[in-house]
């Protein structure tokens, strides 16, 4: 009896026979509807090995686990999160050749390798409103324009908006938030609630990405959803991956990092993640992406700047919106 229980427990604890490569990933990435499963299949075909995704909130989990972490590779940390992750001291250099990236920003980070990116943007329904033509015009728009955003204290896209406002309006960011305030119908915990309110027709504009309309174009044949393009520029979120220094499978971890910028991996990103690949020949992009409105100017803080500014921009949000 006791041995039966022991066997059962062993089976529960180790679902795979060979030791898999443990990849920590955000929920959206590894879910059946994200890019994770296709990437897993492609990588496993090339290496005769196995990937095991562990999902959840990647950064707090790493910080909780510290050196006890079971992760070999971590994917899905964006540039605004990356500095805090770097400071855990858990990561080894990525050793990947990052030349030829199809991103609007130079990449010099030796720890994290980028795998996809997108501009933060306000998405609207072209049959319902005429969009403001600039960020400044958005602040001056009549108060009956209704916007849903995400909270910078709980959501990465919300934090990106706060950084975006700071980048555009600098010292006047608090004033800018105050000007935006009457139009902000609600501030949600995460992206899904806000986007749900948009698709339900409750708000005119929602904080999302310039690539969001691609889903509607390709999956639904609906070309009415568009991103408002602002000449001031759009804040860019780059998602990255890194390898854990203490991994007991360094070769496999490195092989996975090397796989990230290959065409095989990158071509899964557009329709798997509804975002832009870090390095992919534009000719290989799905057709629907050509219909997207994309900005000329990309704005970004590097990970150290973003980390240093975080408390400031959250305070601007609270002060500007809370009054």
């Amino acid at each position: 009896m006791r041995s039966t229980i022991a066997t059962a427990l062993t089976l529960l604890a180790s679902p795979a026979l060979a030791q898999p490569l443990t990849v920590y990933a955000p929920d959206y990435f590894a879910s059946e509807w994200g890019p994770g499963p296709a990437i897993e299949a492609a990588f496993e075909a090339s290496c005769a090995c196995e990937i095991e995704y562990v999902t959840g909130d990647v950064l707090p989990r790493l910080r909780l686990e510290g050196t006890r972490t079971r992760a070999d590779v971590v994917i899905g940390l964006n540039t605004d999160d990356a500095e805090a992750a770097r400071q855990t001291g858990l990561f080894a250099p990525h050793n990947v050749d990052v030349r030829g990236l199809t991103m609007p920003v130079d990449w010099t980070d030796a720890t994290f390798v980028p795998f996809n990116w997108g501009h933060t943007a306000f998405v609207y329904d072209a049959t319902q409103i005429d969009p403001p033509e600039s960020f400044a015009a958005l602040l001056d728009a009549p108060d009956d324009l209704r916007i849903a955003i995400q909270d910078p204290r709980t959501s990465v896209s919300g934090l990106a908006l706060a950084l975006w406002m700071h980048k555009v309006f600098g010292e006047d960011a608090t004033e800018a938030w105050a000007a935006l305030a009457p139009k902000v119908v609600t501030v949600t915990k995460g992206w899904s609630e806000a986007y749900g309110m948009f698709t339900e027709g409750e708000v005119d504009m929602v904080l999302s990405y310039t690539t969001s309309p691609a889903y509607h174009i390709i999956a639904e044949g609906d070309e009415t959803k568009k991103a408002a393009i602002f000449p001031e520029g759009h804040y860019v979120m780059v998602e990255t991956a890194g390898q854990i220094a203490t991994t007991d499978q360094p070769e496999l971890a490195q092989a996975f990092l090397d796989f990230i910028l290959t065409e095989e991996f990158q071509s899964i990103i557009p329709e798997g993640n509804w975002s832009l690949p870090a390095r992919l020949d534009p000719a290989k992009m799905p057709e629907g992406f050509a219909k997207l409105d994309l900005p000329e100017t990309a704005l970004i803080y590097d990970s150290a700047e973003a980390e240093a500014l975080r408390d400031t921009v959250v305070a601007e949000f609270e002060a500007g919106l809370g009054r």
Binding site: L12, A13, S14, P15, D27, Y28, A30, S31, E32, W33, G34, G36, E52, Y53, V54, T55, G56, D57, L59, P60, R61, R63, L64, E65, R68, R70, R146, D151, R153, T154, L159, A181, V184, V185, T186, V187, T188, K189, G190, W191, S192, E193, Y195, G196, M197, T199, E200, G201, E202, V203, S212, Y215, H216, W274, R310, V314, F317, E318, L321, G322
Partner: protein, 500 residues
Amino acid sequence: MVAGALLLPLVAVAWRAEGWGGLRVSDWGALWFTLWQAAVSAALSVLLAVPVARALARRRFPGRGAVVLLLGAPFILPVIVAVLGLVAVFGRSGVANTALGWLGVEPVSIYGWQGVILAHVFFNMPLGTRLILQGWLSLPGERLRLAASLGFDAGDTFRRLEWPMLRALVPGIFVVIFLICTTSFAVALALGGGPRATTVELAIYQAFRFDFDLSRAALLGALQLLIGGGAALLSLRLALPSGFGAGLDRVTPRWDSRGPGLRMQDGAAIGLACLFLLLPMALVLGGGVVHVAGLPGSVWLAALRSLLIALSAAILTTALAFVMALAVVTTRRGGWVEVAGTLSIAASPLVLGTGLYILLLPVANPVALALPVTAFVNVVLALPFALRALIPAMRDLHRDYGQLSASLGVTGFAWVRLVALPRLRRPAGFAAGLTAALAAGDLGVIALFASPDQATLPLVLYQLMGSYRMEDARAAAVLLVALSLGLFWLFERGGRHAAA
């Protein structure tokens, strides 16, 4: 044990915190908002629940069972579904504002403190109704008969029978709802309209997610538990025993409430409650029904996982609540057991989950234990509801049959089988059903722990929304509601049949 289950994770988080930071000024603002909105939400929920529960208790009409069942549904809805449903009714382009527009009235905004309270009443009035209805059904039929033969009208019945029952029940129910509202977070944010609607739980999330300030998270978690403890103690002092004496638990016709005025009053209470609670659900779920059959197999597997969690949580919680209720009634320090049991509702799910994670990490792979841990957390979180249902019944049982059992020497297992089970089946079935429904709908810690092949139905729902698949998400929500309500119905029906 429950106290340990609550405190250990908290201590674990604090221990990992390495040094103590203080609270911020904004945390005190969050505390104030948390407290007042919870008090108002709970008061309104209970006030509105009383007439509805009374109407349901004294009317018999076709479809009453279905109404009682469906009225329980909002309580188990995932937050995101409920929010979208409320917005569909009360939002800018919602049904309510459209109707007001026809009347030439300015649209009303749902966003702000009024939205937070509206949502909390939407979630918790059904719970209040169900718990108070349990109380009404526990009024001994013989008393109502006696009241009728003495010529009591509805007012007399209320003063002599119903008011003492409410007096005994309502403080506990108020506290339970108050505590649920204090740990609210995503709702408060989505309908609160901005940083003014910051609650303590949001501050905990922020401290944990972005600042990784575990000492602040633990401190705020402790603060939340303190509020809960205070409220629970207060409710114990306020609650008075009802003391009707024993009855035969038969459903009795209500001779006192046959007047047309009272009929209309009850009809209005039930009708308005149905409209308020069911319309948002119908609007958000209606579109999903046709897509249920087309859901991929993985969603059904997730539903199966949720079912297993729900069943194990229901059985464990009911057993635990039974033992605790017995302790509350029969031991001298029973009050503390009751406080501990109520307190767990005030435990921050995030602190609980994180603490368990820290505790498990050195000894096991928390990811492999995701499902058992989810079930365990749900046992802790559902216990207060189960206790609210079982303690009053156990108290009556002890008072009415305690001496008889003792004089006949019926103790131990025989007592459980012959005396307790037959008379507690109805509240126990209710407790098990409620726990199962709650556990099936709980997103909670699974999001912290799981690997993709362990996703539960609520998690899958969020995944679908996160990848733009709104239609499938609606369908998953329909499945979730059907699963939760189905479990609730089965357990409750089991309880009622056995009692008849």
